[in-house]
Symmetry: C2
Subunit: 449 residues, 2 copies
């Protein structure tokens, strides 16, 4: 108990130093979609791990920044892994940021910057937890591994191959996944799973050259074709219209949603008109299909009357466990073919399945039961988050239970402008991870329910 108070005090006294670690990471742009700054950011991560006394190995992988693996072996009988990523989403639209995305800035008790929540703030918090535990206990109470990749935002292209190849180095008894958010009620949300991802580019080609739009009366316009193809994929009420799309959906863990509602999570944005059923169940346990962007023809000021020569859309299809991304792609291709849009090109940018860990596992109990002392409120445990990530490499390839928690909140705006975390959540998140480290061995030996 005294040790615990000392640890908490140490974390609070060192908060500004730990915020500095997050800022140092944010300051280094590392946009995987543009392949920029990745090696530089991996270098900073490696240095930070080494500063904590870890052995660091850096692995080149195909299609994204290098994987940084940090290992701290204290000869304990339990090993705790952390999965994180140091790459970030592109910062566009830049004009919507109050302060520049790669200039970490503290305002009103919040740290702003691209990656603050997703995922650099979490890297810093976990390193801070380890630092504080070592400082107050003299050494870590558990072996620790940090698996930090540089391609999560582009679908972790090299991760599966890396994990298969380096499986021996990646042994662990449990893994804390990348992120977590406090909901509107102030309760930390603990995710036991993530969705899978099929990220596609659709491209309709029509004309060999730009034509005067008066020809639009009779000549094929790829913008119309793309519009009709997209409209055929998803109904206005959000239901995906591809035959067999929902075949493999189970609602495992649905009982955890009892007593929860979307209002605890949502920031008040308008829901899809005509959306049926419990929206929280839809958000967390159903697959979905979403337009991230689309472009065709002239979009500058004023009017231009010209037929576009091509039309493109970016779409993310978020999958639940048991849905096979390859099969879903096949169904979508077949759908387009049957609807007369067989000549729309489909390019796969990301493809991986979803993952879940049982709420009866020791790890789920550990993460849930250490949350209250860290946050002062009871956590919410949900069977899956709405977001995606390559958790399957941990749960399915390595066979390690995996649970996600972290330092964000409902207003963190990950992937958007003015991404931020609250410093109070950052501190609470450090405490939570430190408590997970302290109690890991005990929960592990008590075992699953």
């Amino acid at each position: 108990m005294e040790r615990y108070s000392e640890l908490i005090r140490y974390i609070e006294e060192n908060r500004d130093r730990y915020v500095g670690w997050a800022s140092r990471l944010i300051e280094q742009p590392s946009i995987s979609a543009h392949r920029s700054g990745l090696r530089e950011c991996a270098g900073i991560v490696a240095e930070m791990l080494e500063d904590l006394g870890m052995r660091v190995d850096v692995f080149e992988v195909d299609g994204s920044g290098p994987v940084v693996l940090g290992t701290l072996n204290v000869e304990a009988h339990a090993t705790l892994m952390f999965y994180n990523h140091y790459d970030v989403q592109p910062p566009d639209p830049l004009e919507k940021w109050t302060t520049p995305p790669f200039t970490p800035t503290i305002r009103d008790g919040k740290l702003y910057g691209r990656g603050a929540a997703d995922n650099k703030g979490n890297i810093a918090a976990r390193l801070a937890a380890l630092d504080s535990v070592i400082a107050t206990l003299g050494e870590a109470p558990v072996n620790v591994k940090f698996l930090i990749e540089g391609g999560e935002e582009v679908g972790s292209p090299g991760l599966e191959e890396f994990v298969r190849k380096e499986q021996d180095r990646l042994f662990a008894d449990g893994c804390i996944w990348e992120y977590g958010y406090r909901n509107r009620a102030g309760r930390p949300v603990i995710n036991l799973g993530v969705k899978g991802m099929l990220y596609l580019e659709l491209e309709a080609q029509g004309l060999s050259r730009e034509m005067h739009s008066s020809w639009g009366a009779v000549v094929e316009n790829p913008a119309w074709k793309l519009v009709h193809a997209l409209a055929s994929i998803r109904a206005p009420d959000g239901r995906v219209l591809v035959d067999g799309f929902y075949d493999d959906v189970d609602y495992e863990g649905e009982e955890l949603l009892e007593g929860l509602s979307l209002q605890d999570f949502n920031t008040g944005e308008r829901l899809i008109a005509g959306l049926e059923g419990n929206p929280l169940r839809t958000l967390l346990l159903e697959p979905t299909c979403n337009i991230n962007g689309m472009i065709a023809g002239y979009v500058g000021p004023g009017s231009k009357t010209s037929l576009p020569t091509e039309a493109k859309a970016k779409m993310d299809v978020r999958l639940v466990p048991r849905q096979d991304p390859a099969k879903i792609l096949e169904k979508l291709s077949e759908h387009l073919r049957l609807k007369g849009f067989g000549d729309i090109a489909l390019k796969v940018l990301q493809s991986y399945p979803g993952a879940r860990t049982s709420h009866r596992s020791f790890l789920a109990k550990l993460v849930a039961e250490t949350a209250h002392p860290a946050y002062g409120v009871e956590p919410v445990v949900i069977p899956s988050g709405a977001a995606s990530g390559p958790m399957y490499v941990v749960t399915d390839l390595l066979g390690i239970p995996c649970v996600s928690t972290g330092v964000g909140y409902y207003g963190s705006a990950p992937h958007g402008p003015n991404e931020n975390i609250r410093l109070e959540d950052f501190t609470a998140g450090i405490k939570h991870i430190a408590l997970i480290m302290l109690n890991f061995h005990r929960y592990m030996h008590a075992g699953d329910d």
Copy 2:
């Protein structure tokens, strides 16, 4: 006959000088959508008119470049008007031009540059015709007026008001409209009408801020909303689905299409799949609705997973005579409201009705019968072109018959990259206009059929 040979020889000998006039106009960017270079281009036009001995008045109008009115009064009992415009479409996409859009360049007997066909080449050809007629006859055989505006590509915003206010200065017995093209069979196409135009921007608003796209399962996405709204407006086969859209369509002049087919006009681009009926009839005599551009969310390289905060489309609705743009706008708004898209904002960028002149008018006969001596082949006379223009101010407001012919060809790519005219067509077009001037008085007195 001798006079005629002399005229033809004069035109051929002076061709390069006349091409220089076209180049001088092309060199001056004058993009009405961006309001750039308009005053400068109007100044060049005014100077060129003055150099031919015309009286020039320049009128400021709202919403576009000044109107330049050139008057050559030779005290004849007939007055021929020319309508043209010196503004051009934006040159995007710049990277698709072989030589820069505002650097007039001759390659393989063609003059390349933005405005070569639409509409600066025609201004030069008409001035050249007047120059050659004066040079060989000593003076023009008819009073001539040039009405040259600077806002046609943005819907001629100030033109109607100008014409109403300056009606007295604008008396004429016939008007040659802005443009014309030789078809694939080498026959000059004479248009007796144009379509009207309703140019709209549709904007769907959804989110107050950019959100992680995992929320797309339940939160409204303006890109989906716009896609469904657009898909509800036009069927995949090109038919407009707005209730009452085709109510006021007559097929006046349809008999002129006998013996013609789309192949004479089209450059071989793919037609809309499932298009029904005679496509040439659809192209020339039916209204249509077309996407010129659309944009939403992230369209950069790689993948970004974010919900767009807004989605926009630019759409041109091309109308036939008797269709009232205001009524069509009302029907479209009502359609969107009824389909559940009432919150999509409609912004009107252009709005004017179509126009036609009878093929039995003296002017139609004059233009048709002088084409063969100029081009060496019989022309094609069609009741309307597929394109739009504010011809109604001449035909309906001023009550002047109006026919369109000009120096382009099927490969001119007006509004597109590498816009060009063939020098042989430019020369033939000058001859045609010169012959129209020579014979105007005689046809006018013979009267309509």
